[in-house]
Amino acid sequence: MVENSTKMIRNEDEHELIQQLIRGDESAFRQIVETRKSLVYNTVLGLLQNPEDAEDVTQEVFIKVYEVIHQFKGESSFSTWLYRIAVTKSLELIRKGKRKKRFAFITSLFGENNEIRHDPPNDIHPGVIMENREHASKLFEAIRQLPENQRVAFTLHKVEGVPYQEISEIMQLSVSAIESLIHRAKTNLKKILKDYYLNNK
């Protein structure tokens, strides 16, 4: 599913909604979910590349928001805070997946068939333009091989279109560190893709 319109609410209204949610108002929670689900879902989907996992993690993000909203002090914007929870939850699942994959490799050594059962996802972000899908598939495969920090910074910038300043607030690093991370990510991606083409020629 692709969403073309983004529902936004004014900062003052959002502040009021947050205060209502802290007081336990369910309609405020519903409004926050409805207006922010696209931001969370797209961030998570960009990192996980699997719509089912993305939906699951998006739910987890909002459950977390509901549980810890009283900890939101307004030091960063609400969207930055949401991005941070979404990135943390996505990385938790990625790490869990890596552990499962390692375990699957060990079990496959002792199992009946010698195949690794926990393969990386083959889905592609549904928002990718049709004629770019094949290339995007290779790019996402390469992104999965990047170190965690580079993967997060590159995905937030390239897929979500988050500006460097906000990425620096989300990742709690300086803007120059983010620039450096994205530059290194691009260099590494070029290297990974070059190796891929040389080995497949």
Binding site: M1, V2, E3, N4, T6, R30, V33, E34, K37, S38, Y41, N42, L45, P51, A54, E55, T58, Q59, F62, I63, Y66, E67, H125, P126, G127, V128, I129, N132, H135, A136, K138, L139, A142, K158, V159, K186, L189, K190, L193, K194, Y197, L198, K201
Partner: protein
């Protein structure tokens, strides 16, 4: 040379493949599914305990209780050395070091 050029143009095409990416949206009735999951999570008794224990006030309270209990146990029974001395006195047992010149 031509191959190198082809690879470079392929890589550029791949790196630019996310240009114009559109926003995706979760399946319809997301909020209904979210509420159902929240109810499921809240219904678990284990989760209720975890939520209760994870509250700072409860965690600090339980910790303080155990520290207090520990302190009470220590002070109410006195130190073990005192106990040994009183037992030794009761039974007229005198302990001497092997290097004590006054030892028998």
């Amino acid at each position: 040379m031509q191959m190198e050029k082809d690879i470079t143009s392929h890589i550029e095409a791949v790196l630019n493949s996310l240009d114009g990416i559109e926003k995706a949206a979760p399946q319809p009735f997301f909020y209904t599914r979210l509420l159902a999951r929240m109810e499921q999570v809240n219904a678990s008794p284990w989760n209720k305990w975890m939520v209760l224990l994870s509250k700072p006030a409860v965690a600090v309270g339980i910790l303080s209780f155990f520290i207090l209990l520990n302190g009470l146990m220590l002070f109410s029974h006195g130190s073990p050395e005192e106990d040994n001395t009183s037992v030794a006195n009761d039974y007229s047992v005198v302990q001497h070091s092997s290097y004590d010149p006054n030892a028998e």
